[in-house]
């Protein structure tokens, strides 16, 4: 038996806002969350990209020490959005610990801030420093730190899925959570991703010449998805969480329904681990549509991965055109906040839900002059007041991983 899977609560910490009203205001008014890179004592002087999608809203974390002790910054973000989702959902505490609620949550690589501290101690060649590296350092820095800090704080006993596939971490979490509920393995899943402020990620992409460097003095003007002047991605931070429930379970408990996940696909390019691949992305979209039981013309909005790299945007535009022609409106939400890495799939899904609820399509920020090679699709270049009935959320990652989620407005 297959269950319908609905989204009943959502929360995001993003460079363009924390709570829903703030995020919607930024989307409607074209506010960027990209800021100057903060100086640090490690890499900021060396990287050429001096911009970062920065969470600026102060967040008061109110976690007891027994929870804080195993949390790096990334887990703070993760637990905060989950806390907000659980507060909004009003789930019975007995259900939360029943084993029927699971967690699908990940990050790119645990807490890089904590990892940096560990390596400083290892390379200090000091026995006393070495011996101070302990269990908590591992628990803060391991790749599944977000998922298990969530299970601990909220006493969740269901299955744990902790994808760590860079830029598809968040979208895989939602997709795998969707499958767990769809096939009756769990009644509900908390799904999402998080990543903290981290200059090592900037350095990696910078060395690959993938980062934006031409707008260091005007951070809000980059990244520029699909634009002629785009010059690369901007690394960002944030977290997003959605609660997925089976439709029957949600209806039985009278939960408000924000949207329905109707399909998901994930594949791999089966080759190069870095270069975007038009055929791989095209297949993901086509197979996702089939999984959702949709014809291409039924999709009216695409949240594109659109990191604003030279080649990535062209390849994605080609894949979208291959499947949809120029029918759906396409927005690259990273124009507002940069690439929030492991959280981008979750954050972009949540922003899409907000647009669905409020009946508008946000334009791709900084897209003023469409690159001719990306011009074959229907770009959202101004705010459009129109209902989104079915949206596709696309994300792709290093390693050749592609995902596509399909979200339906609940009517």
């Amino acid at each position: 038996m297959e269950n319908r899977v609905v989204i009943t609560a959502a929360s995001a910490i993003s460079p363009i806002g924390h709570h829903k009203d703030e995020i919607i205001d930024s989307l409607i008014n074209g506010k960027s969350g990209v800021k100057a890179l903060r100086p640090d004592d490690l890499l900021s002087d060396y990287v050429e990209s001096k911009v970062f999608g920065t969470v600026s809203t102060p967040i008061e974390f109110d976690f007891e020490r027994k929870y804080r002790k195993t949390m790096g910054p990334v887990a703070y973000y993760a637990c905060q959005v989950v806390k907000e989702v659980l507060e909004a959902a009003g789930l019975d505490p007995a259900f939360i610990s029943s084993g029927r609620l699971g967690v699908a949550f990940g990050s790119t690589h645990g807490s890089p801030t904590v990892q940096r501290g560990i390596y400083e101690k290892f390379f200090s060649h000091s026995r006393s420093d070495f011996s101070t590296v302990g269990a908590v350092d591992y628990l803060k820095s391991m790749v599944h730190t977000t998922a298990v800090n969530i299970t601990k704080m909220f006493r969740i006993k269901g299955r744990v899925i902790s994808s760590s596939t860079a830029c598809t971490t968040g979208s895989q979490s939602i997709g795998f959570g969707y499958e767990a509920v769809k096939y009756g393995l769990q009644d509900a899943m908390l799904c999402g991703g998080a990543d903290e402020y981290d200059t090592t990620t900037v350095a990696v992409f910078d060395n690959l010449l993938a980062c934006s460097t031409a707008f260091n003095d005007t951070p809000h003007r980059t990244p520029r998805p699909f634009d002629k002047q785009r010059d690369g991605l901007v690394v960002g931070e944030g977290a997003g969480c959605v609660l997925l429930e089976s439709y029957d379970f949600a209806r039985k408990r009278g939960a408000p329904i924000l949207g329905e996940v109707i399909g998901f696909w994930c594949n791999n390019n089966g080759g190069d681990l870095i270069l975007p691949n038009r055929d791989g992305i095209t297949d993901t979209i086509r197979l996702g549509l089939k999984n959702a039981g949709l014809a291409p013309e039924e999709v009216d909005f695409v949240s594109a991965h659109a990191t604003a790299t030279k080649m990535g945007d062209i390849v994605e535009a080609q894949a979208i055109h291959n499947v949809y022609g120029d029918h759906p409106y396409v927005t690259g939400l990273k124009g507002y906040m940069g690439h929030t890495m492991g959280s981008c799939g979750a954050i972009e899904t949540i922003m899409t839900l907000y647009m669905m609820e409020k009946g508008f399509m946000a334009p791709t920020l900084n897209l003023t002059d469409v690159d001719d090679r990306c011009a074959m699709i229907r770009h959202t270049q101004k705010l459009i007041e129109r209902d989104i009935h079915i949206a596709a959320v696309q994300n792709f990652a290093f390693g050749g991983v592609n995902t596509c989620l399909f979200i339906k407005k609940f009517e």
Partner: protein, 85 residues
């Protein structure tokens, strides 16, 4: 190092590091305050600071059955005595 001095230091560590105020001296710390294996390892680090010397692997293993503040004080008292403190 007197028993009273040890108790004062341990209670201070519990308040400052573990946010546990005025625990009962014979309370099971795990049951009463969710004091866990991670906290125990951190406590050993604090005890090393108190004693001004590292604990051997054998000395650390001896701590694994400790459950209460009084047992912690007994343990630190033994370690201090063996170091001539």
């Amino acid at each position: 190092m007197t028993r009273d001095e040890i108790l004062t230091r341990i209670l201070s560590v519990f308040e400052q590091e573990f946010e546990i105020k005025n625990p009962g001296l014979d309370e099971n710390l795990t049951e009463a305050y969710e004091f866990d294996s991670i906290d125990a390892l951190e406590l050993l680090g604090e005890i090393e600071k108190m004693l001004g010397s590292e604990l051997s692997r054998e000395e650390k293993k001896e701590s694994m059955e400790i459950r209460t503040i009084n047992q912690i004080c007994d343990y630190v008292e033994r370690l201090a005595r063996s170091r001539g403190l």
